[in-house]
């Protein structure tokens, strides 16, 4: 997670080709961008491609960057485009089993009512628990997954997420709610089985 207030970069130095300032930028943002790639593509090699292409593209376009958005927003925008392009390229090779459900306008109504929220942390975050969380994120439709990653994993604001993805704030809020509810359902099904409390009818 990047706290944008703790990372300030000189746009002038970056645009003038200051290698040391660029190295600082790479250092600050490489971990979150790699994480975004990993969560979007679920594959370390693809995540590394997203990471490298993001900074190669940033280097190529720094001179054109006018600073209308923050450097952080600009970098995340390049990274999310790289990730989505790679997903599209790979989809051409996807088999039918790899297809994910398309984003739909279905209502987001909760269906599982088991309170597993007080299970101990070591149980929730056991190796198996972490795999269940990763799998739940992986199975979100990509348009919801990207919003969820930026907002809830990287802790960016609704406004920043909207700017990065070129969406309205309302649209980001809708997608975020749907992503959260879908994950809650999946995790409720998983943790609910481990919860001694009975499900309400």
């Amino acid at each position: 997670m990047i706290n944008s207030t703790t990372h300030e970069f000189s746009l002038e130095a970056l645009r003038a080709g200051d290698r040391s300032e660029f190295a600082r930028l790479v250092d600050a943002y490489s971990a979150p961008i790699y994480r975004l790639g990993l969560k979007m593509l679920s594959n370390p090699q693809d995540a590394e491609d997203v990471l490298q292409n993001t900074f190669l593209n940033a280097l190529l376009h720094l001179a054109d960057f006018e600073g209308r958005s923050s450097v952080s927003t600009w970098l995340y925008r390049i990274a999310s485009n790289e990730a989505l392009m790679l997903i599209r390229r790979k989809k051409a090779n996807f088999s039918i089993e790899d297809m994910q459900p398309e984003d739909s306008d279905d209502e987001v109504m909760p269906e599982t009512f088991v309170d597993w929220s007080l299970l101990p942390e070591n149980e929730l975050l056991s190796e198996e628990g972490k795999r269940a969380i990763d799998s739940a994120i992986k199975h979100l439709p990509e348009s919801l997954r990207m919003v969820f990653i930026l907002r809830d994993i990287e802790d960016l604001s609704i406004k920043e997420t909207a700017e990065i993805l070129n969406l309205s704030e309302t649209n980001v809020k809708t997608r975020l709610l749907r992503a959260r509810m879908a994950l809650r359902e999946k995790l409720s099904a998983y943790y609910g089985e481990r919860n001694p409390r009975k499900e309400k009818e």
């Binding site: 997670m1 290698r19 040391s20 660029f22 190295a23 790479v26 250092d27 490489s30 971990a31 790699y34 994480r35 370390p44 590394e48 990471l51 490298q52 900074f55 190669l56 280097l59 987001v108 109504m109 909760p110 269906e111 009512f113 088991v114 309170d115 597993w116 929220s117 007080l118 929730l124 975050l125 628990g129 972490k130 969380i133 994120i137 969820f148 809830d152 994993i153 802790d155 809020k173 975020l176 709610l177 959260r180 509810m181 994950l183 809650r184 995790l187 409720s188 309400k200 009818e201």
Partner: protein, 93 residues
Amino acid sequence: MSAHSHENCQALLGTLSEYIDGELPADLCKEIEKHLEGCENCRIVVNTTRRTIDLVQAPQQSEALPDDVRERLFKRLNLDTYLREKLSNGQGG
């Protein structure tokens, strides 16, 4: 959902994200909390949604970039000099 479809629950669902993120005005929060006192299903949805977000964030925050990935990135960008400086200062990752 048949046992859980009255109007206030629908309204809560519409503002759930903002409520959890602490972005609602105090009077609306009070109304929601009043509803939650009497509606166990909504309470469960709020608790488990909140926990879902915590759980997803928790393991991520300590995740550093793997050293080999960082090294290849700096080489690809012709920033090897800075990679060495950082690593020798023990600030890698």
